[in-house]
């Protein structure tokens, strides 16, 4: 969901609280946390060429993938897999208990502890451990959220009314929930104010438990809960997954071509997952700041400007993706419906979302992990200036860029394999990808632009 400013904000807050630490630490940390430092400093390339190169790389990888025309080879890559032993019920129960304890502790510390920013355990647990670290494991290892999910453990302990879930709602509540969660995150100082964070967390717990009591936990977490759904999609990308009720080791991303989303609501969810990352970064750019100031100067309330851009942007992303599916349908001369193509190709966007998440969060995760350990040792009396990693090596910026690139390459390959699965003619398969490739090129250029723009604090919002 959120990534650009999450890392930037985490770094900013690291800087704010770590004033006593020598300045060079701050500089190094600021570099390590954002792609902007990595991409702009060492090379003096004009922005348009930098963007064009990014788009070009995606285009080239599409062309290169189109050279792989052996159906057996494409299928063999995706069918490779090994069975894994089941972790066992005891371990599972222990993990669930631990997750619930962490949730309880986070709420407690968030409400009680007077320390702010990175001296507060609640902030560190949510943003560094959970958002930066745990979320990365859902796509790098496997989706453990169905087991760990403390909200689910709580909900399952409560009696369920098992009311029928209104089918016409589909998964749209999760799309709305995702938009709402990220909106709260962007529009409020959720990464600085532990009381606010604990309040949001408590509200989320109550809403989730309430929803699960009404429609039953299985239905709630499968269709309405944005977090469980986001992790389920990320888990499709991971090398460990559940197939036919058994744990299975597979190549990363190899389950995606077989993933058929249920409908437009699922497609909207995946596209929204990508969009919220972009919006979060977009409001922290210079052009947005000056544009927003101009519009607010003309008499429009700031919240309308932000919310308007947010909703229009989300709709724009969805419509652009729909248009790409229609273009693919037209170019491939197929009678498969545009909605069906959208449902098949949308999973190929997931590696891109994961690549950006990792690139944006790994730096702050590494820098702030020592902070977390120090604060976790005494949550209610944290050290006045908890330690941070003194900086990451210079090549780390290149590593972040590599994650973004890797996400895109995997996305292109997944789209290729999906197309081979869909169409009898291999030429048709290539042509069907024109639309989704165009979207990927456009998205790469947009995100690289956001990443290359220097960070400007979003005006009018308290963060």
């Amino acid at each position: 969901m959120v990534s650009v400013p999450r890392s930037r904000r985490a770094i900013r807050l690291a800087l704010a609280t770590g004033c006593s630490i020598a300045t060079w630490t701050g500089v190094a940390a600021a570099h390590s946390g954002s792609l902007a430092g990595a991409t702009r400093d060492p090379i003096a390339v004009p922005t348009w060429l930098f963007l064009l190169t990014g788009g070009g790389v995606v285009g080239v990888s599409f062309l290169l993938a189109s050279f792989v025309t052996d159906r057996q080879l494409v299928a063999a890559v995706h069918d490779w897999g090994r069975s894994l032993p089941d972790p066992g019920r005891v371990l599972r129960a222990l993990l669930r208990l631990a997750a619930v304890s962490v949730l309880g502790l986070t709420l407690l510390v968030g409400f009680l502890d007077r320390a702010d920013g990175v001296r507060n355990l609640a902030i560190l647990v949510v943003w560094v451990v959970w958002w930066g670290g745990y979320v990365a494991t859902t796509y790098l290892l496997g989706n453990t959220w169905p087991t760990l999910n403390p909200f689910r453990t709580l909900a399952e302990a409560l009696p369920s009314l098992d009311r029928p879930y209104p089918d016409r709602l589909g998964a749209w509540p999760s799309v709305a929930g995702l938009l709402l969660l990220v909106w709260v995150e962007v529009a409020s100082p959720l990464a600085d104010d532990p009381r606010l964070l604990a309040t949001v967390l408590a509200t989320y717990t109550v809403v989730t438990a309430g929803g699960a009591v009404v429609v039953g936990p299985d239905t709630w977490f499968a269709r309405a809960d944005p977090l469980a759904r986001a992790f389920r999609f990320y888990g499709q990308l991971a090398p460990v997954g559940v197939e036919d009720g058994r744990l299975r080791l597979r190549l990363p991303g190899s389950a995606l071509p077989d993933t058929v989303l249920d409908g437009r609501d699922d497609v909207a969810f995946v596209v929204t997952l990508l969009f919220v990352t972009t919006y979060d970064g977009f409001v922290a750019t210079g052009p947005w700041a000056s544009g927003a100031r101009a519009v607010v100067g003309a008499g429009v309330p700031p919240v309308v400007v932000y919310l308007g851009a947010y909703l229009v942007g989300a709709l724009g992303f969805y419509l652009a993706y729909r248009a790409s599916a229609r273009l693919g349908r037209q170019r491939a001369e197929t009678y498969l419906s545009a909605t069906y193509l959208a449902r098949r190709f949308a999973p190929s966007l997931l590696p891109i979302a994961a690549g950006y998440h990792l690139a944006h969060n790994l730096g702050s995760f590494l820098v702030l992990t020592p902070t977390f350990l120090a604060v976790a040792a005494s949550p209610l009396a944290p050290p006045p200036s908890p330690p941070q990693l003194a900086g990451l090596p210079a090549w780390f910026g290149g590593l972040e860029l590599a994650f973004v690139l890797l996400g895109h390459l995997l996305a292109v390959w997944v789209a290729h394999a999906t197309a081979y699965d869909l169409f009898p003619s291999r030429l048709q398969a290539v042509r069907s990808q024109y639309g989704v490739t165009a979207v990927m090129i456009g998205y790469t250029m947009l995100s690289l632009w956001i990443v290359a723009e220097p960070y400007v604090p979003p005006p009018f919002i308290a963060s």
Binding site: T69, V260, L422, P424, S425
Partner: protein, 89 residues
Amino acid sequence: MQAHDPETDVPPDATPYVCDYCGQPFARETHLALHRGLEHASSLSEEERAAYEDAHDEEVDNLRRFRLLALAALVMLYFGFLMTYAVVT
């Protein structure tokens, strides 16, 4: 995220080529022939097998042409970027 039958949408004025085995419509006869060869290989008649082989040969020719074009595009992109970088930086 379960398996579904592919959802199709045939324009009202079109005359699709429909697969006798599974009912999936196609815009071109070659697509249908290829589909039969790939999805229903075990139950093909002599005639359908021949149609599949013809369609497959044609596909291979077309793929070869596409590869050449893709290679040309790659070369142009490569030199385009090389030149741009040489001029700009």
